[in-house]
């Protein structure tokens, strides 16, 4: 459905995108993650025809984004970053305007507007001016506008920036509902958002794709050996450490903190082992009470930080190669 082949984009001497390729099949919900300046928005803007790639190509349904820009745009619903909307227009008026831009004839416009107003929970706000809407409602209006022509592909650039937590949850629910049969690209730097909404994640950094896979795959890749935290009833740090280290499946252990009679030990497991049960057994044998035994869940955040830090190091060692 969406195919990018070795896409490069430079602005003067700044190389914003450096050889990005991906294939997105119909119906997939893809999250594009990455720090600011990673090339995410530039890639999206090339997709929506706002600028051409310096080299390489992006196509939607086998239509090139440069040569068949208008036909590609007809297939895309696009919610730009910051969601700019004419503030003086009323909700229904703005949606009718957007419908006309997509060539929806006057006869079908009313139905199209009614459909997206209902779909995006805007019924109570239909006669408000866009400039008077709260940020959450504004975002819904932007989403409604991007859906007006019922596009097979939806591209959302930072859909939850600037929203409060309840608005974020609401927008996320709406986005999940909208996915259905649609191919979706969601640009974000909010990790939980992408993890919860997307089938697949592309991590951008320094203008290239550094990781590509389902959230689970990426998390497992990132995980490495698990970390275990144990709190034992003893103020003898060395004893606490050696008891934990002796448990099968534990690679190493280190006492990190003592608080009164309690000592906190951090252990690293062997490869993929889960040594919580052996640790509990070892503590029981040594007659030490436990008040905490946690295996740290591997997270996307770890992968993300690892990639972005690696890229930052790379960029530091290549002066002039700014992204």
């Amino acid at each position: 459905m969406i195919v990018a082949r070795d896409v490069h984009k430079s602005f003067g001497h700044v190389r914003a995108v450096r050889g990005v390729s991906f294939d997105i099949p119909t119906g997939q919900v893809v999250g594009i993650l990455g720090p600011n300046g990673a090339g995410k928005s530039t890639t999206i803007r090339m997709l929506v025809g706002a600028m051409p790639p310096t080299s390489g190509s992006i196509s939607v349904d086998n239509l090139d984004c440069v040569d068949h820009s208008r036909r590609v745009r007809q297939r895309l619903g696009y919610l730009p970053e910051n969601n700019p909307i004419y503030p003086e227009m009323r909700v229904t008026e703005y949606l009718r305007f957007r419908a006309a831009l997509y060539g929806i004839t006057a006869k079908h416009r009313r139905a199209a507007v009614a459909r997206v107003i209902e779909r995006c929970w805007l019924t109570d706000m239909r006669s408000r001016r866009a400039g008077q809407l709260s940020k959450g409602y504004r975002q819904r209006l932007g989403l409604a506008a991007s859906l007006i022509h019922n596009p097979p592909v939806l591209v959302l650039d930072e859909p939850t920036t600037g929203l409060d937590p309840s608005q974020i949850a609401e927008t996320r629910r709406l986005v999940r509902e909208l996915s259905g049969q649609r191919t979706m690209l969601i640009v974000s730097h909010i990790l939980p958002e992408v993890e919860k909404t997307c089938d697949r994640i592309l991590v951008f950094a320094g203008g290239t794709i550094r990781a590509d896979g389902s959230p689970e795959t990426l998390i497992n890749q990132a995980a490495g050996p698990a970390r275990i935290i144990v709190e034992l009833k003893t103020n003898d740090r060395e004893r606490a450490r050696s008891v934990i280290a002796s448990a099968p499946g534990v690679a190493s252990a280190m006492a990190i903190d003592t608080d009164g009679q309690w000592t906190r030990v951090e252990a690293t497991a062997n490869n993929n082992a889960d040594p919580r049960e052996p640790i509990a057994g070892a503590c029981a044998q040594a007659n030490l009470a436990i008040r905490e035994l946690t295996r740290e869940r591997p997270s996307l955040e770890r992968l993300y930080l690892r990639i972005t830090e690696a890229v930052a190091d790379e960029l530091r060692t290549q002066p002039g190669a700014d992204s």
Partner: protein, 238 residues
């Protein structure tokens, strides 16, 4: 066509949604009204609006850029240009549509001045030929001012810059045509006199409609709109 009309209507209507549109209309009517009241409606004067038409060309120097300055600059500043151009429309629709919206607002602004014609009719017996010529001239001048203002507004995010640049462009044209033309070499002088608007506008105010003037204003307006289209289109090439 649907999209073109939608953009034109939105552009037209947005003038009435902001105080700016109303201020522009009010100032134009107030100032032109003064001149009509004090310089035209006098016993013994000829029953014509010649003074109104001549003064209007000067008022339009600031009024027209105040209408055109928003056209693209505001979209660039607020970012609304991005969703607009992400729709499957071409710059050849967007820019002419915006121009038509602005032109329609301009003509709406002129409409109340027909009242001056009514007043003239009440107190005297005006000749309608020169009046028609005068209005044709105003609309043609407005067309050119708005088209150039539109081009300039595609270059900048700042409405103030767009306003001033358009204003000074026409002031410069006027000075070049009247002050510099006689001192320049014959060829340059001829070119400057060709570009000078004041004599052409003067002819319309006197009631003379010359085809070459009409062609001048229409052709250069179309040219300016085309430059505006290319200027906006060039954003996609960068």
């Amino acid at each position: 066509m649907t999209a073109l009309l939608a953009i034109a209507i939105r552009e037209y209507a947005s003038n009435f949604r902001t105080s700016l549109g109303w201020i522009v209309i009010a100032l134009y009517l107030l100032l032109s009204g003064f001149w009509v009241a004090f310089a035209t409606i006098n016993p013994g004067e000829p029953a014509s609006l010649r003074v109104f038409f001549s003064i209007s060309q000067w008022l339009l120097l600031i009024v027209a850029p105040a209408i055109s300055m928003r056209l693209v600059s505001e979209e660039l500043r607020t970012g609304t240009i991005e969703p607009l151009m992400a729709a499957p429309i071409s710059e050849w629709q967007a820019i002419p549509a915006k121009y038509l919206g602005a032109l329609a607002f301009f003509i709406t602004m002129l409409a109340p001045t027909l009242l001056y014609v009514g007043v003239l009719e009440l107190v005297a017996d005006p000749d309608y030929g020169p009046l028609l010529a005068g209005y044709a001239g105003l609309i043609l001048v407005g067309m050119l001012y708005l088209a150039v203002g539109l081009v300039i507004s595609t270059f900048t995010q700042s409405q103030v810059v767009a306003l001033l640049a358009t204003f000074f462009f026409f002031i410069a044209l006027h000075i070049l045509g009247t002050q510099i033309a006689d001192r320049a070499s014959p060829r340059i002088g001829a070119a400057l006199r060709y570009a000078s608007l004041a004599p052409r506008i003067g002819d319309f105010a006197k009631g003379v409609v010359e085809l070459r003037h009409v062609v001048f204003f229409v052709a250069w307006s179309c040219f300016a709109i085309a430059v505006g289209v290319i200027s906006l289109e060039s954003r996609r090439w960068r």
